[in-house]
């Protein structure tokens, strides 16, 4: 399938899953909010320009905000994830490495260990920023720390499960 329609359908699905499944689950604990939707940003192709990536993150987060009636909150967090993504990728795989020859980040293109670090760092960034913005209104340190740790753990777990369930085979790009 072509890249653009695939990504559009994917982002709609991610938003719907986030709003109507993950946010409808009865909370296990006050610290745990399961977030998975930002995996969409992690899946975008390597070649996406940084400006486009940041803008996409912002708009994508904002569209979730429209559903959850928290304008700007997820937009800010997604924007951060999208902005940090190229840095993390650059650290994890060097330019000469084979990783860049694939289309987009996946365990099969980056290797499981690298991909797990990548997912963990970005979900930590997402949840930290999200909880921090909430915390500015609440001012409770235990809440801040507990929620960051618990949400990141749950997000990370969900990402691993998703990767296991939906195996994305990455095509190797030959020299064009």
């Amino acid at each position: 399938m072509n890249d653009l329609p695939k990504n559009i359908i994917r982002s709609i699905l991610f938003i719907l899953v986030q709003v109507f499944i993950l946010h409808k689950i009865p909370p296990l604990h006050q610290f745990i909010t399961p977030y998975l939707y930002f995996l969409m940003i992690l899946w975008l192709p390597f070649r996406t320009s940084r400006t486009a990536l940041t803008l996409f993150g912002f708009l994508y987060g904002l569209s979730l905000d429209y559903f959850l009636k928290t304008p700007g909150l997820h937009a800010a967090a997604c924007c951060l994830v999208a902005y940090l993504r190229p840095f993390v990728i650059n650290i994890l795989i060097s330019k000469e490495d084979s990783g860049f020859n694939y289309v987009s980040p996946a365990p099969s293109s980056m290797g499981w260990s690298q991909y797990m670090v990548y997912a963990f760092v970005l979900s930590l960034a997402h949840n930290t920023w999200l909880v921090f913005l909430e915390w500015l209104q609440l001012r409770n340190f235990l809440y801040l720390a507990g929620k960051i740790i618990a949400s990141t753990g749950v997000s990370f777990l969900l990402i691993i499960i998703t990767e296991g369930l939906f195996f994305r085979k990455q095509k190797f790009k030959t020299n064009i």
Partner: protein, 280 residues
Amino acid sequence: MRNVFLKIRQYFNLIFFLTLQAIACYILFHYNRFHEAVFMDTAGQITGFINERYSNIEGYFSLKKTNTELMEENTRLRNLLLQNFEIPDTSVTVVVDSIRVDSIAQYRKYEYYSARVINNSVTAQNNYITINRGYAQGITKDMSVISPSGIVGSVVNVSKNMSTVMSLLHSQAGVSASLKKTGETGRVEWDGKDPHEILFKNIPKSVQVQPGDTVITSLYSTFPAGYPIGVVTEIGEQPGANFYVLTLRPLTNFYNIQFVYVVKNLFKEEQVALEKTNPK
């Protein structure tokens, strides 16, 4: 100068990122001001549509539970029925009214809720009043608000225990009004200059108006018809138009307003639904 541009180009991504963060934080921390105007308007329709679809589907899953609850309620109510109780008979005769149709039956159109003003402004261009009733107490958006002496405005935002009212002293406030004496209908607005003066427009020059005439809400307004708005103090003429611009003194004293009534029009939904079916 060239260096500045070079720096900007070099750090373009960072600047772009920081700008978006700033926008996001601005929206987040100014939620209430934004919420009405920009955020929830068109997007709210889309998300609302999807949410409605979802809750329609979700409703099926709880049908059994809902049924059980309704059954329990039915049992409870049945137990309260009058025929379950013996009443000692003290009456002598029972007269049955032979008229089948109650031709003077009345149905209620307006319901009034009293509320106390907890915040008020008169000095800004767009003035809002906050009252101590919210949706938990039956207030919904677009209900009209009146004071004992005249009209006040209409509800724009509702939270759980309070709501904000767009006062008549607001640049977007507009009320359909008519002259009490002759019944010509026009529109009352505020030009943002003096809280003691509001404007009454669209009255044709053929009508005889005098200072001191009372202006009331018209039959078409969202307020209960015939409620006082203000008294004509000055008759101005719009150059080149066939209409007067009348200056009114509002009968509500916006400076010391303390108690208001929120008016609920019970037929509003029916009216809106009916008018929607008009061929365009």
